[in-house]
Amino acid sequence: MNSALLVNIFRFILLLAVQIIIFNNMNFLGYISPFPYILFIILYPVNGNKSGLVVASFLLGLIMDMFSNSGGIHATACLVLAYFRPSIFKFAFGLSYEYQTVKLNDVLTPERFSFILLSVVIHHFTLFILEAFQFSFIFDILIRTLLSTVFTIIICIIIIYLIKPNKR
């Protein structure tokens, strides 16, 4: 249990650092940037403490906001994703979620992919709505969400494959 906590703290710091130093400077076509830092929320242990996840996500988003001068948009988006994570689990994995046998960082199956896809879409949509904060930008919001989602998912999957634990 203790090592799981350490792994999560390490992941929190590492993902934030990588996001701020590398991915925030990536502007594909001028406005598409990936946000793989939400992998922290996606990879959080299934049977972990739920309140802990909510608080950690809030802090994660708040630090991102501090570095990108964006008020509270990352904090809100992360919080929404963290809160709806169990429902997305239920939707993507069905019954096996109840028995908590789900392991995320493993070979990509349709269930795992749909879970990551849903999580990223929810996070990005919230993020870009709050960022534009005007309904006249709705077309812009949708385009940004779509393109950034594709970008983020590709990078998330690459990262998951790169740091796949070799335990079992």
């Binding site: 940037s33 739920k50 309140s51 988003g61 501090m66 990108s68 001068n69 919080l79 904060f133 930008f137």
Partner: protein
């Protein structure tokens, strides 16, 4: 009482979520609605320090372009120096028109954003160097933005590529003025609105800062007219301005301190009070 406690225990996760959601939403709304009261900004010890370290690294990669830009500016300054008519009298004004040399703080952009609708820059000089909110920021090519938040060693700047930014600007040859805004679309272009239709303007005319602003001195370059649109309902032009500056590539900038600014604002305030 028992039931209230039960309710709280049962829904502790949801209540926690709602509480934090309230905090983050209020931070978001506050950052969108007020001009300068941001609680979470990158002008602080942690993020300023990290950005400075990262920027030091990046600088090595950009040394050549920065050198070229500085050499170009040097050449320009030299040409002004050598072409002066009276070399014995010490001229009071610097080459940046209308600004006295002691009013300038040289600073460096350590973080730059240009891909969202509200863009901010972070600079590596702050209160200790005399930087205060509402000072103008320019570089050798044109205006960059306005100081928003300061900490002892860092400051944040509202970039002209920000929906909240609104700067008084005029057409250089005719003195008709309007306000400069950004529609959030392209990083190379800003919009000049509220220019009366009487103004004789042409594509390619230069846009400079106007004299009404207490933040920028008059006649600092902004850009050239790229497209002119007439608004049929109002009697105003909407002009698309192509910036001289490449806002995606900023290095050294100058922060302008205006000594008469306080005097002007005080005077205007007194007028209003009476």
């Amino acid at each position: 009482m028992q039931q209230i406690f039960n309710f709280i225990f049962k829904n502790s996760n949801r209540l926690l979520f709602l509480l934090l959601l309230g905090i983050s939403l209020s931070l978001t709304i506050q950052s969108h609605s007020f001009h300068r009261s941001k609680i979470i900004s990158s002008a602080n010890f942690l993020s300023g320090g990290v950005y400075e370290k990262v920027n030091n690294l990046n600088e090595y990669l950009n040394l050549k372009t920065q050198n070229d830009a500085l050499a170009l500016e040097n050449a320009k300054l030299k040409s002004i120096l050598f072409n002066r008519k009276d070399t014995t009298a010490i001229k009071k004004l610097d080459s940046i028109k209308g600004v006295k040399p002691d009013d300038i703080v040289v600073s460096k952009v350590i973080h730059n954003s240009y891909n969202v609708h509200e863009n901010y820059l972070t600079l590596n000089s702050g209160e200790l160097q005399g930087v205060k909110p509402d000072m103008g920021v320019i570089n050798s090519l044109g205006i960059v933005g306005i100081i928003e938040n300061t900490s002892p060693n860092y400051s944040t700047v509202i970039s002209i590529l920000n929906k909240k930014s609104q700067i008084n600007a005029k057409i250089k040859k005719s003195n008709h003025f309007g306000s400069l805004i950004w529609n959030g679309k392209s990083t190379g272009f800003v919009q000049l609105v509220d220019v009366p239709r009487l103004a004789a303007i042409r594509k390619g005319d230069t846009i400079v800062t106007g004299g009404q602003s207490v933040i920028f001195p008059e006649n600092i370059n902004i850009g050239t007219i790229d497209k002119i649109e007439k608004d049929n309902q109002t009697n105003y032009y909407t002009i698309t301005v192509k910036l001289f500056n490449d806002m995606t590539n900023l290095g050294h900038v100058y922060i302008i301190k205006r000594k008469d600014r306080e005097e002007i604002t005080n005077l205007e305030k007194r007028e209003k009070d009476e």
